[in-house]
C-alpha cells in the first residue's frame, strides 16, 4: 500500500514537472524562400560578417531585424508584409550599402521560380504539342491548297 502511494506520488510529480519542462521546449519549421541581399566590394570581395539592418514598410523607424552577413556577404530575412523594405549593410570600416527591396515583386518571383517534375513534364508536352500542332496546321493548309 505504501509503495503504491510512493509510486503514485512519483508519477504525479513527473507528470507535473514534465508539464513545466514542456514550456521550455522549442519547435521549429524549415522555411523556404525569403528575401536576400548579397553585398560585395568593388573588387568582388564579399562584405562578410558585416552588420545588417532591415526596416519594414510598416515601421521604417525601428529595425525589423538586425544581424550580420555570412562569409559570402549574404543576408536573408522573411518579410511579413508587402511593400518597400529598406536593407542596410555596413562593414563597420566605412563601406556599406543601403537599398530598397520591393518585396511584393520578389516573393512572386521566388515562389514561381521552381517547377516540380510533373509541371516540367506537362510544360514539355505542351511545347511539343504546340510545335507539332502548328506544323500540322501549316502542312494541312498547304495540302488543301494543292
Amino acid at each position: 500500500m505504501r509503495y503504491k502511494k510512493v509510486a503514485f506520488g512519483l508519477f504525479m510529480s513527473l507528470f507535473i514537472l514534465s508539464g513545466v519542462c514542456y514550456g521550455h521546449g522549442v519547435k521549429y519549421l524549415r522555411l523556404k524562400g525569403g528575401v536576400g541581399i548579397e553585398a560585395k566590394y568593388s573588387d568582388g570581395m564579399p562584405l562578410s560578417f558585416s552588420s545588417a539592418k532591415v526596416f519594414s514598410p510598416g515601421n521604417p523607424d525601428a529595425e525589423f531585424q538586425t544581424g550580420y552577413t555570412d562569409k559570402n556577404g549574404r543576408f536573408m530575412f522573411f518579410p511579413d508584409m508587402e511593400g518597400i523594405w529598406k536593407v542596410e549593410i555596413n562593414d563597420g570600416m566605412g563601406h556599406g550599402v543601403v537599398t530598397n527591396i520591393d518585396v511584393g515583386e520578389i516573393v512572386e518571383v521566388k515562389e514561381g521560380a521552381g517547377f516540380t517534375l510533373l509541371e516540367k513534364i506537362l510544360i514539355g508536352i505542351a511545347i511539343i504539342w504546340g510545335i507539332t500542332g502548328t506544323l500540322f496546321y501549316i502542312a494541312g493548309k498547304r495540302y488543301s491548297k494543292e
Binding site: 560578417f49 558585416s50 555596413n90 570600416m93 566605412g94
Partner: protein, 237 residues
C-alpha cells in the same frame, strides 16, 4: 579625304578621353579602400607624460573620417622598451577612438591593433605606430611583431632628417613580399613606392612630420605611422 580627316579628327578627340579613362581605371582602385592607422599626439614625448593614442580611419591622413565599429578592433597592444606587452583601453571621441597612456621608460614603444570581423579569427588589417620616449635608445628590433602583414622600418627613425632614406620591408607572416606602398607625409605629400626583388624599399625623407605608410595584399591591409623629428610640429591628430 575630307571624310578620312573627319575620322582622324574624331580619333584625335577621343584619345585624351581614352587616356583619362585608363588613368582613372588604373589609379582609382587602390584609392577606393579606407586606410586605418594609429597615431599619437606626441611621437617623441617626455618621460612620464600622459599622451593620447588615436585609432583613425579614412582617406585623408591625419584627419579621421570615420569611427570604426568597436567589435572589429582587437589586440590593442603597447610593446614597451623591454619588449613586454600590455593592452590599452579605447573610448570613442568623434570620428576616432582615443586612449590615454603614460610611458614610464625612456626608449622605443610600439603601439598596435588589428581589425578582425568576428567570428573570423584572421585579422584583415594591421596597424602599428612607433613612439620614441625622450632620453632613451631607439631599439629597432622591436619593430617586427612577426605576425600577419606588417611594414617594418629596418633603420633608425629618431636620427632621420630631410634627404635621408629609411629602409623598409613589408612581410606577411615573417616572409618578405614584393608590394607597392603608399606614403603620406602629414597628408600633404602623397606618393607610391614599389619594393625591389628582395622585398625592400627606401622611403625618401622629404620633409619633417608624421609619416603614414600603408599597403594592401591579398585582401589584407597594414599601416605604419612614425614621425621625423624637426622644427615642424610632430603632433598627430
Amino acid at each position: 579625304m575630307g571624310r578620312l580627316q573627319k575620322k582622324g579628327g574624331i580619333l584625335m578627340n577621343t584619345r585624351p578621353f581614352i587616356f583619362v579613362s585608363l588613368f582613372l581605371l588604373v589609379f582609382t582602385n587602390p584609392v577606393l579602400g579606407h586606410e586605418h592607422w594609429l597615431s599619437v599626439d606626441k611621437f617623441y614625448p617626455p618621460l612620464n607624460q600622459k599622451i593620447e593614442i588615436f585609432i583613425s580611419s579614412g582617406h585623408y591622413f591625419p584627419d579621421s573620417e570615420l569611427l570604426l565599429e568597436k567589435r572589429l578592433i582587437h589586440d590593442t597592444i603597447i610593446i614597451d622598451t623591454k619588449g613586454e606587452k600590455r593592452t590599452y583601453e579605447i573610448q570613442p571621441e568623434g570620428k576616432r577612438w582615443v586612449s590615454k597612456v603614460v610611458f614610464e621608460s625612456s626608449g622605443t614603444y610600439v603601439l598596435s591593433y588589428n581589425l578582425r570581423k568576428p567570428p573570423q579569427k584572421e585579422p584583415i588589417y594591421y596597424a602599428k605606430c612607433i613612439v620614441l620616449v625622450e632620453g632613451g635608445e631607439e631599439n629597432i628590433s622591436l619593430y617586427e611583431l612577426g605576425t600577419g602583414l606588417e611594414i617594418i622600418p629596418r633603420g633608425k627613425i629618431c636620427s632621420l632628417k630631410k634627404g635621408d632614406k629609411l629602409p623598409v620591408q613589408v612581410i606577411l607572416d615573417g616572409n618578405g613580399i614584393g608590394i607597392s606602398v603608399q606614403v603620406s607625409i602629414d597628408g600633404k605629400k602623397n606618393f607610391h613606392l614599389r619594393s625591389d626583388k628582395n622585398c625592400n624599399l627606401l622611403v625618401p625623407i622629404k620633409v619633417q612630420g608624421a609619416y603614414l605608410l600603408t599597403c594592401n595584399y591579398m585582401g589584407k591591409g597594414a599601416s605604419l605611422t612614425f614621425a621625423v623629428r624637426g622644427n615642424v610640429s610632430q603632433e598627430g591628430k
